[in-house]
Amino acid sequence: MVNEIELLREMRDEVPGRLDMSGAERRLAEMTARGLPASGGRERPAYRTWLGLTLAGACVLAVAAMAVTRTQDAGAGLEAAGSAHETTRPTGAAARPSGTVTRPDGVAMVLEQAALVAARSTTTEIRPDQWFYLKESQHLGGNLPPVEIWQGMDGRKSAIRQQGGELKVTAAEKGPTHSGRTQEEVEALPSDPDALLRHFRALERGLYPLSICRPGCSSEIADDVKVFGAIGWYMKFGPMIPPDTAAGMYRALAKIPNVSIERDVTDMDGRRGVGVVFDAGEGVKAYYVLDPDDYRYMGVKVMQGEGEATGMSVLASGIVDRPGDVP
């Protein structure tokens, strides 16, 4: 099968890494000598000579520096691209046959308790003119700050506020889904745990709050990861899940093979909670961290072997009337 990303990477790969930089350097010197271009910075004539001189010396090193940059891991981004699909490509992950695992005591008990608490919660009425608000941290190996997102329930607009930034309201990102559709989906979900498992297993498009196996899960555990992933993905939208359905989700989690409970874990933001752990084998474990009091979903954390962890935590969420409002 053709891999579109590989083909894309080859496209115009003929353009060499060692391009002549003197033209760009000269243009930059001209631009800085003129004052600065376009976006209206204040003039800095002193740069003229300095920049020219510094660049002249610097460019001798450019080729060497370039050689270094090109050897960096070229695959990182694409691995992530592949993992977003969670294909069932065998990776040799130590999968265990379903049902043969001895589970630590407590998984059914803890999650039943969570289900009972969820079932007692109140139903939220959501109007199409309201917004789903989510503040989420992004611990993904980089230095990404938390982000606040508002999604219009009618799917037409969304808004975002980056840390320390302004609120930006735009047309909703084009994509396969939006909050309004998610709401319709959660409202249509069965509340019976076995029916939920069947439903999630049959999903055409896998849903995951975070990739668990990279690049893909072995076929033995792929179905379990798919169900575990879908439940976490929906739990992030906690405020819009009907109480019975939320209860069903906890009970369904308890029925997934290789799922156990760790009573005292921390999410990626250092908050303590109850961990619902899926063991994907080969040292890979995915955690949903639940609030120790009301079992609300606090976030996801994936541990890859040697202490390497990624995760995203829900720092706040709710239904609000206007973008910029917080619950």
């Binding site: 003929e14 890494g17 350097e25 000269r26 243009r27 930059l28 001209e30 300095w50 510094t54 981004g77």
Partner: protein
């Protein structure tokens, strides 16, 4: 105001006595050395050789303007530079699309012509690349920016998110969506499928 002009005279600002703000120009030069070559290659791949020097130079000129406010702790400088370049590339949207369309139509790619010899030049692009080019021309600018930053640079998803100032989930969904379009365009190569082009 009085206290502001006093602030200008404080040691380290470098502006008061007319001396060149050495630290910033050195920072800029270091950025240029480290990143300009790969940045230029990326711009060439998208727009061809002609506008590349101008775009690369302007990227660093804009960077210089914002150097003071740029906070290294916020993230990777490459993301920052690619973000600036992406905005500048966006001004040449018609040119970029025109290049993909020409490639899809004729099988010849003027972007790589300066770098290939005559024999190679006579070999026109295969069907897959032509379909790929057509699909790229049909993507929205946002999707194309995101997909090509992922495929043609060494930025990770997180770095692309920083570059485009969107959450990483958005990068993921844009890439997935754009990949789907490419995949469908390539699937059209199956001879049992009627070619809509």
């Amino acid at each position: 105001m009085r206290h502001e002009s006093l602030a200008d005279l404080s040691p380290g600002s470098g502006a008061a006595d007319g001396a060149p703000p050495r630290r910033e120009s050195e920072r800029l030069a270091a950025l240029f050395v480290r990143h300009a070559p790969e940045l230029k290659r990326y711009v060439v791949r998208r727009l061809g050789l002609d506008p590349a020097d101008d775009i690369v130079a302007e990227t660093f000129a804009v960077a210089l303007q914002r150097l003071e406010s740029y906070d290294e702790r916020l993230g990777d400088e490459r993301s920052w530079l690619y973000g600036i370049a992406t905005n500048l590339i966006g001004r040449h949207r018609r040119r970029e699309i025109g290049l993909y369309r020409a490639l899809s139509r004729t099988g010849a790619d003027s972007v790589i012509e300066p770098f290939t010899d005559e024999v190679e030049r006579r070999v026109t692009a295969n069907g897959a690349r032509r379909r790929l080019a057509k699909a790229l021309a049909g993507l929205s600018q946002k999707h194309r920016d995101t997909l090509l930053l992922v495929a043609w640079t060494e930025l990770t998803y997180e770095e692309v998110a920083l570059a485009l100032d969107v959450p990483v989930g958005t990068v993921r969904s844009r890439v997935n969506r754009a990949r789907g379009k490419l995949r469908r365009a390539l699937a059209g190569m199956d001879p049992t499928v009627v070619d809509e082009g």
